[in-house]
Amino acid sequence: MKNKSKLEGIGKKKISLQLYITGMSENSARAIQNITLLCDQYLKGLIDLEIIDIYKNPSVAEEQMIVFSPSLVRQHPLPRKTFIGDLSDMREVILGLGITLKE
């Protein structure tokens, strides 16, 4: 495997994550900081992350069935999973994403 990595449970494709936030709210800011920290430090190059402001496009929230902000959605690999809140418990997020850190 190309990524003979410390990560398991990932297919050949990148993990596709979408973080839905609302403008400059404190929880949104914290969620952005947490998810970028997680991606940069542990999952560099393995994540395709998009941060979507639902203030800017409310219709996306409806389409994606997002009710709460901030929400993190794993679109790939399936099944789709949603995490609500500012993602401050990183361990929970990692577990929820189905990633095991091999250290």
């Binding site: 973080l19 936030i21 403008g23 400059m24 404190e26 949104s28 800011a29 952005i32 900081q33 998810i35 970028t36 992350l49 998009e50 941060i51 979507i52 402001d53 203030y55 800017k56």
Partner: protein, 437 residues
């Protein structure tokens, strides 16, 4: 008991109905957007939750703002960016948020931006830098403000300077083109002046021969010449003399332009005295009276001022009314700096910082129509016929050239058949014009 229970139940149903309808009303109100906020006790604390939030207007303002607006953590992580910024860097908003601002700064600006960003963490800072994304460099003006203690972030406003820079570039290019054209124009002017000088010089020679040989021919044929032939020969001589004068004046004109400017302290009274002495005979002949006021001492080129006075006094005498003794008056006054711009002098482009001597030459001759007041200073421009008043049409053009060489101005006022006044404005000193003598 049972009836009481039934009554109780009915009452409870009524109460529930009322509460349900209240709740339904509240939901309807929320749905149709007529509710802003509700206050609920959570965790033992009263809190207010906003619905159609009160910051809506601010949000729209920031979002639609036609400047880039960003919110950055102290690490430079972008936690908010408005559409203008994502359009400017041409990267989707979803990708800009969550990336680092430093990734958008050009290599040349990175150090500078770092310094200003660190400065902003203490307060605020503004600077001009360039962004670099998608291989395009964008000049911008950024304003950074620390939003603490309210928010643990740095606000950043980005102004696109591309258009301004383009305009500056355009102006530079235009200025350069203009400068080149100016140099070319100066060169052409110089060569034209030189041409005039050379041509006039070379034209004099054959003309002198025509005059000499015609005179010789007349002398030789003196006795055998019919009066008609003699008259024709006289006409040839007269014409060649006129042409000679014309060439001489053209030569003078070009000499004034090419002459090295040697300004010296000059008493204008003395120059005018000399000029009037030259005209003694003509003044006597015309029975003219000349009044002279006191003239100032200024920095000037004496030979040119002499020529100027000669032409103006000569004109005043020449264009006097037939059969009536001319009356000429020459006077002067000082126009201190800042008081030169009256309605008449506005076209002369005088320097407001400079004091001028205004010398006026007033006559009671044939005058001219005021509508020709500018035209008379053009070279070869004549308002009167050659038969009535001799002249080459260079005199006043020469006068104008001379005052221009002195950084001054000349203008004329006239009325047909009611005299003319020529105003000459000369700076008292030349140093203020950036010219050293």
């Amino acid at each position: 008991m049972e009836t009481a229970t039934a009554d109780d139940l009915l009452a409870e149903i009524e109460d529930l109905k009322l509460r349900l309808s209240e709740a339904q009303d509240a939901i309807d109100a929320i749905k149709n957007g007529s509710v802003d906020a509700f206050a609920i006790r959570t965790n033992g604390k009263p809190e207010v939750f906003t619905l159609q939030s009160l910051d809506y207007a601010y949000r729209v303002l920031i979002e639609k703002f036609s400047e880039g607006a960003l919110n950055l953590t102290p690490d430079g992580l972008i936690i908010y960016c408005n559409s203008y910024f994502s359009n400017l860097v041409n990267i989707p908003n979803e990708k800009v948020t969550g990336s680092y601002i430093f990734d958008y700064i050009s290599d040349e600006s990175r150090q500078q931006f770092r310094e200003h960003f660190d400065l902003a963490l203490q307060g605020c800072s503004k600077t001009e830098i360039s962004l670099r994304t998608n291989n395009i460099t964008i000049p911008v003006y950024v304003s950074l403000t620390n939003l603490q203690p309210q928010l643990a972030t740095v606000g950043m406003i980005v102004t696109d300077l591309s258009e301004k820079k383009q305009n500056e570039q355009l102006i530079k290019i235009h200025a350069e083109t203009l400068r080149k054209k100016n140099v070319e124009l100066e060169r052409l002017n110089k060569s034209l002046d030189q041409f005039a000088s050379i041509a006039s010089h070379d034209l004099q020679e054959p003309l002198r021969k025509i005059k000499t040989f015609t005179a010789l021919l007349k002398m030789k044929l003196n006795t055998t010449l019919s009066s008609e032939s003699s008259e024709l020969i006289d006409k040839i001589i007269k014409s060649s003399e006129r042409m000679s004068l014309l060439i001489k004046n053209v030569l003078n004109f070009s000499r004034i332009v090419n002459m090295e400017k040697m300004f010296e302290t000059t008493d204008l009274n003395q120059l005018l005295d000399n000029t009037l002495k030259d005209f003694d005979l003509l003044i006597l002949e015309k029975g003219a009276s000349v009044q002279i006021g006191n003239l100032p001492v200024i920095e000037a080129i004496p030979s040119q001022i002499n020529q100027l006075f000669c032409n103006l006094v000569g004109n005043a005498l020449k264009f006097s009314k037939l059969g009536r003794p001319a009356s000429i008056s020459i006077s002067s006054r000082i126009l201190p700096s800042g008081e030169t711009e009256n309605e008449f002098n506005v076209k002369l482009n005088l320097d407001r910082q400079v004091s001028y001597a205004e010398i006026s030459f007033k006559d009671d001759g044939i005058g001219f129509d005021q509508q020709f007041a500018d035209q008379i200073f053009s070279i070869f421009e004549r308002l009167n016929s050659q038969e009535q008043y001799s002249g080459t049409g260079i005199g006043l053009a020469l006068c104008q050239k001379i005052v221009q060489q002195h950084h001054g101005g000349i203008r004329a006022e006239g009325k047909e058949n009611a005299g003319a006044i020529f105003y000459v404005l000369l700076p008292l000193t030349q140093s203020a014009n950036g010219v050293s003598n």
